[in-house]
Subunit: 301 residues, 2 copies
């Protein structure tokens, strides 16, 4: 099965300067390291990347910084969906103008209890407004944040209306059965797990890969899962490691914890900064995290 | 009790051109009519105004159109809170540069389950970044849309940290007891009801006024409530009328219904347009709405 997007893609975290602007240099080197560690792609500017807390100008800068560092446009999958359709168009057009054709597109998420017709109209308006055959849209199902779930009926309508354009979905619901059902219903449509431990079972049931947060830390183990899916002697230790790292990252508020763990791994304290409304871990939490971090399993072969 | 904001303020709906850009001329004349019908102020660019579906550039145009039509800056209370703090700063600075000092500020609402510390840090960063003593911030509590409720402890911290700047709250929760408790806890802090039928009981228990959707249609009756709060012979028929109109506006999805009702009142079909992810009423709904609309009570003295 050939998918328009597959493999291990990192929901890259975004380091910050002291004034809370993005640290572009550190971000670019983080992306380079992620690729060196085994990521197929960098899904920058998503939920973990705190994209919604950056201005449009900052979002463009962050993508441009990765490109300027020599990362290929085909390795970058930026989030471009914001609440205002004209701005989603603007960000997506900017990506396309830079040779980046694959984007993760969050639906508008301010209004709640909206209908499938309304979400369909939102995506259709944006895709038609762009009118660019190079575009590849990965839908974004993350009901715990957006509170705007994407139904299977809606997904089917979008694939039918925009064949070759609407090519996949990032499913961050944590609901494996939902991901498997989408993969079964729409052959060739790329289903990407948003939770690291689900990469293996999803690959075993028709999924395409993942876009995850823990790959900021242990991309090598996720790559082992992807490359050796049916070899339990390889996947078992990788899966155990992923589970241990993921459990720790979810022991506190996830995004500040992932960033603090990148800080512990890299020795760069800049990673401890987060944008409001997120807050850094407390000193007590950070100390406890560091203690457990030191006990986490290292790389497996 | 003197409040920095009080009275009847309309959560103005925004009419659209066929290409879904804002119809600036029709919007400005709608605002003028609202003031003529009794509104003290126009709370444009809120939830009812579909602000989150417009680009920053469109939001600035909409405010400028009202000003250009001769509406006083002291009669305009735009919503300026978006997810990205640098953009909330940009929109608020634009308002201040145009002499508009009072803004309704939604907290960032993409991330859920955020702490009071995080919401406080968001508002503090924005207010400190603006550094403008003219600024008057009305907080926005609308948990059914934002999913980011504002606690009383947080409100108290913001008032204490920014006295004379954080001056009020629009409470769209529909929970009168919550509004009354805020008014009791923070004397001089303006509590504004987001639901029309609650204006009367809130005024009777220390509230300052309202910012509501039905005032797009029957501002005169809300003004009667405000001007004659303790005269039941005046308030009873006004309250009955408000209740009837509000009940109809909530019989279908509220914002498309409010807009369709403005269309029925004004004869301008442009009001039937809404921005995705909202959708217009179906033909059957529109026909049913028109039938009931014709039976609604007219102005009361």
């Amino acid at each position: 099965m050939s998918f328009a997007i597959s493999g291990v893609n990192c929901a890259a975290a975004t380091p910050l300067n002291a004034d809370l602007t993005p640290d572009l240099g550190l971000f670019a080197s983080h992306c380079q390291q992620l690729l060196a560690e085994g990521c197929h792609g960098i899904a920058l500017l998503g939920t973990t990347g705190e994209a919604n807390s950056f201005s449009l100008a900052q979002r463009r800068q962050i993508l441009e910084a990765a490109l300027a560092a020599g990362i290929g446009p085909d390795q970058l999958i930026p989030g471009t969906g914001v609440n205002a359709a004209p701005e989603t168009v603007e960000l997506t057009r900017h990506a396309l103008a830079n040779g980046v054709s694959r984007v993760v597109m969050l639906p508008p998420s301010y209004y709640k209890s909206v209908s499938d017709d309304g979400i369909f109209a939102s995506y259709a308006r944006i895709i038609e407004s762009l009118g660019d055959d190079r575009l590849r849209v990965i839908l974004y199902h993350i009901p715990q944040m957006s509170a705007v779930p994407l139904s299977h009926a809606l997904i089917g309508r979008l694939i039918a209306a925009f064949p070759g354009i609407v090519v996949g979905i990032k499913d961050s619901s944590g609901d494996l059965a939902n991901m498997q059902a989408i993969a079964a219903a729409f052959p060739g449509f790329a289903v990407l797990a948003g939770a690291d431990p689900l990469l293996l079972p999803l690959l075993q049931s028709g999924g395409a890969g993942c876009i995850t947060a823990t790959s900021n830390l242990i991309a090598d183990s996720l790559r082992t899962i992807y490359d050796h899916t049916s070899d339990a002697t390889r996947t078992a230790p990788a899966q155990a490691r992923i589970s241990a790292w993921r459990t720790l990252s979810n022991s506190y508020v996830q995004i500040p914890t992932i960033k603090a763990m990148i800080g512990l791994k890299s020795g760069q304290a800049a990673w401890n900064r987060v944008l409001p409304p997120l807050v850094p871990l407390s000193e007590a939490q950070a100390a406890e995290l560091a203690e457990t971090f030191a006990t986490l399993p290292g790389p497996v072969s």
